[in-house]
Subunit: 198 residues, 2 copies
Amino acid sequence: MSEKSLRARRRVQTRSEIHDAAVELVLERGFNEVTVDEIAEAAGVSPRTFFNYFPTKQEAIFPGPPELDAETIEQFVTGAGSLLADLRDLISNYAELAPKVRHQMVELRPIFAQQPEIWIHLHKRFGDLEQQLAQAIAQRRHRTDPTSDDYVIAAVSTSVMRSALRCWARLEKADSPTALADLIDRNFAALKLLAAEE
Amino acid sequence: MSEKSLRARRRVQTRSEIHDAAVELVLERGFNEVTVDEIAEAAGVSPRTFFNYFPTKQEAIFPGPPELDAETIEQFVTGAGSLLADLRDLISNYAELAPKVRHQMVELRPIFAQQPEIWIHLHKRFGDLEQQLAQAIAQRRHRTDPTSDDYVIAAVSTSVMRSALRCWARLEKADSPTALADLIDRNFAALKLLAAEE
DNA sequence: TGCATATAGTGCAGTCTATGCAAGTTAGTT
DNA sequence: AACTAACTTGCATAGACTGCACTATATGCA
């Protein structure tokens, strides 16, 4: 049947309850003004159980990992356009289309807008993404391991994305489905302009 | 006299003793395998005093902040070259010439090389630098506040530097005084190439 | 159905970073 | 010598996180 075991469902639901409670409380009061005990209580589990589901407080709020999916990578690796254009498309797709990523961002947008310090907690996540991207760039160039050049390009690309996200979080009307992709395009254009300038 | 008060000297020395003890222990065992109590003990002060000198454990190891100095900024803001070239020079100067920055990096290089996870602790620092750089870029363009374009360029520039630093930390013979500057040049060249490509 | 086992939840004790407070110590001042 | 300000320290506490041991319940299998 389509039903997984009772246990599996419970597990998913409890996880979600903890996450929801965490997001709600952090939205109300801010990351540092909410304790794990409070989140656990709001979710109806013991504090110890909280850590059974999430290794850290921040993971309960920013669950992950929003990795690049295999399909997107494949498309990029075999891409025929200019590297820069294909990178732009890759980043756009990732940020805008991946349902998990998009949902998470929309849900957390108010947090980013209200509490800019929160970005600190995401740097590790972006680091993982950067590593994965470097790998993809190397592959596209028919290498097995990324060279330092590949790493630079990966780092720059994630920077561009991070920058666009920060900007997007501050937007008034971010409902427009293409708002984020537009920002990413703009940022890549700015990058191109920078390098082209005499 | 050139001698400051006994107290002032003591303060500087104690700070340095704590820092040295911290670096030594972390080099031996790794960041997470060293406790504040141990550092304090090795430095000959009480654990409470440790926090009198440094607000967090990581600040004792990566003291700061390595801000851009006013002179370097001034030079950049009034620079006449292309934006990209002047950014490259700015970053090069910062990383290679600022004595404080350079000393700190040389001292901590083994830590970066041995324990790559440590980069996580530096992201906040790089964020500050990015903000400062965005401000400088805006100024150079005769604006009072950075636009989103300025932020992107600042983000990209610090990315390039971070990438170069990571590479430099892994080098065998980083004694060469220009090694780091060379890496930064290379990375900027890679960036230019990326954007120029058809 | 009934038993064995795996898994989820929980309490408890403990570690580590960090902070506030208050009492003591020592350097600089008059 | 007496006073003040800076520095040190111990003590108590909060909060994130871990290991361990125990219970309850779900699930698989005879």
